[in-house]
Amino acid sequence: MSEPASVDEVAEAMYQQVKAAQGQKKLKPGDLTKMMIELFGDRVDKKLCKKAIRKLIESERCVYTYFGGSFIELPHKEGAEN
């Protein structure tokens, strides 16, 4: 089995996905987890993805938003209209 990915590595990959999707598709935490499993294969599991999301949010590179459901996005202008 290959070496597990690091939390930082996964957080960075998640950030890139959120950045690429910004303005086109809102990603849910579950979407990001699925993407990471596709990208890293058995080097990641759901637990590691959870940690990476936490890191991503606590570093303030991404934020949680709520528009009918909860999403992870790049920080953008405040307001319900966004």
């Binding site: 849910k28 935490p29 987890t33 936490r54 949010i57 934020v63 459901g69 405040e78 319900a80 209209e81």
Partner: protein, 403 residues
């Protein structure tokens, strides 16, 4: 004292003997501009028959994805003091027990950082702090944590678990609702603060089938106390009720949904095999009847109020377990996590677990979470189980029998 806006329509809601939120907002409006604007906007909404709030968005406190509900006026020029009017959900203590000291401090903190208006409690069970601005969110959060409180859930996360007062005040409690609520709250902090599901997930704990927290109608997982053995019966007390004028035949026996009681004018007989554990007779004669001694809980799954789809009541999932036994609680948590995995994987955005089960079918759902169907998994008492065995299995069984 600042002038209050003219509110002829809202003033109607001050009439009558009952408490009035308009009256309370007016008290707060004497020293809070936000409350004056709130009255003004609300009156306008009543007049125009249209809501002037927008909600959702980006607000929150650092690291958390839940607990703050962004709320904005769509008339910020007319009502600038409520251009932001965010709501905070605060995780209440199990069973809503407080000291008056902490409530005073909480209110002082909220006067300082927000509108001072609260809703004790919201339908989620949380303490609701109504109305603050974005720059005041972090200071409010700090004020809360200094008092030992934390934010509750909102969005697609585990919502703040809530329970009835249970054994702290109620003799009908069949398990310790407060302890289980605390345990689930602490075990699922990550899921509570960091939304990770297709939609919300609610745990509600009721100590007996009276279900004072209405868990059967609102929780994705309802944990409702029940008993396995016979109703405890004190014949002397039954007689006293009859002597005091209670019409046992009409008010107890004929209202029993199990049709399992009889009264001959002297003796009350219960055929406990057919009792549906509804609590009706116990509620009418609390001194004479009580739940049995072998107590525990039934776990039900899938209820919700109507939002995206119609309302659902939860249905039996685990017929009986003992929530006071840590090992059984650990098993329950394993099942819960299994459900979350499957639902997160396959659930659609904004699909509650009850809707998910309806869509994929209970049989498939149970298979996916690795649980065996049991005949007690029913939507209503005395109903056919909703798990059907595959035709080929039945045929194989028939063949076995033929041999």
């Amino acid at each position: 004292m600042a002038e209050l806006p003219e509110t002829p329509l809202l003033d109607e809601l001050e009439k009558g003997p009952w408490p009035s939120f308009v009256k309370e907002i007016k008290v707060a409006a004497r020293h809070k501009e936000a409350c004056r604007d709130l009255l003004g906007q609300l009156e306008r909404s009543y007049r125009e028959k249209i809501g002037h709030w927008k909600h959702g968005g980006i607000v929150g406190v650092l690291g958390y994805g839940g607990g703050v509900i962004g709320r904005y006026s769509d008339l910020p020029e007319d009502f600038p003091a409520i251009s932001h009017f965010h709501t905070l959900r605060v995780n209440q203590p199990s069973g809503w027990f407080y000291t008056s000291e902490v409530l005073r401090k909480l209110c002082d903190m909220w006067e300082e950082h927000g509108s001072g208006l609260t809703n004790m409690h919201g339908s989620t069970g949380d303490i609701i702090l109504l109305g603050t601005s974005t720059p005041e969110l972090e200071p409010t959060f700090k004020g809360l944590t200094d008092l030992g409180f934390d934010l509750g859930g909102s969005g697609s996360d585990v919502r703040t678990p809530s329970c009835c007062v249970g054994p702290a005040r109620c003799e009908w409690a069949c398990y310790d609702t407060l302890k289980l609520t605390y345990d689930l709250t602490m075990s699922y902090q990550d899921e509570l603060h960091r939304p990770m599901f297709p939609y919300k997930w609610k745990f509600k704990m009721a100590g007996c089938p009276n279900d004072c927290v209405a868990s059967i109608a609102r929780a994705d997982m309802s944990i409702i106390g029940t008993w396995k053995d016979d109703i405890q019966q004190n014949d002397e007390e039954v007689k006293k009720y009859a002597e005091a004028g209670l019409d046992i035949q009409r008010d107890v026996v004929e209202n029993c949904p199990g049709r399992c009681m009889s009264w001959d004018g002297e003796k009350l007989t219960i055929d406990n095999r057919f009792c549906r554990r509804c609590m009706h007779c116990i509620n009418v004669m609390p001194k004479a009847l009580a739940p049995g001694k072998e107590r525990g809980a039934t776990i039900l799954i899938g209820s919700k109020a109507p939002i995206v789809e119609g309302a659902l009541l939860s249905s039996v999932f685990i017929p009986f377990m003992n929530p006071d036994d840590p090992e059984e609680v650990a098993e329950l948590k394993e099942i819960v996590e299994e459900i979350w995995d499957v639902w997160s994987e396959e659930g659609k955005n904004r699909e509650r677990v009850g809707e998910f089960i309806q869509r994929v079918g209970m049989g498939n759902f149970l298979e996916a979470i690795g649980m065996e169907p049991v005949p007690e998994m029913v939507a209503h008492p005395r109903e056919n189980p909703y798990v059907f065995y595959a035709l080929d299995e039945e045929e194989e069984e028939d063949e076995d029998e033929d041999e």
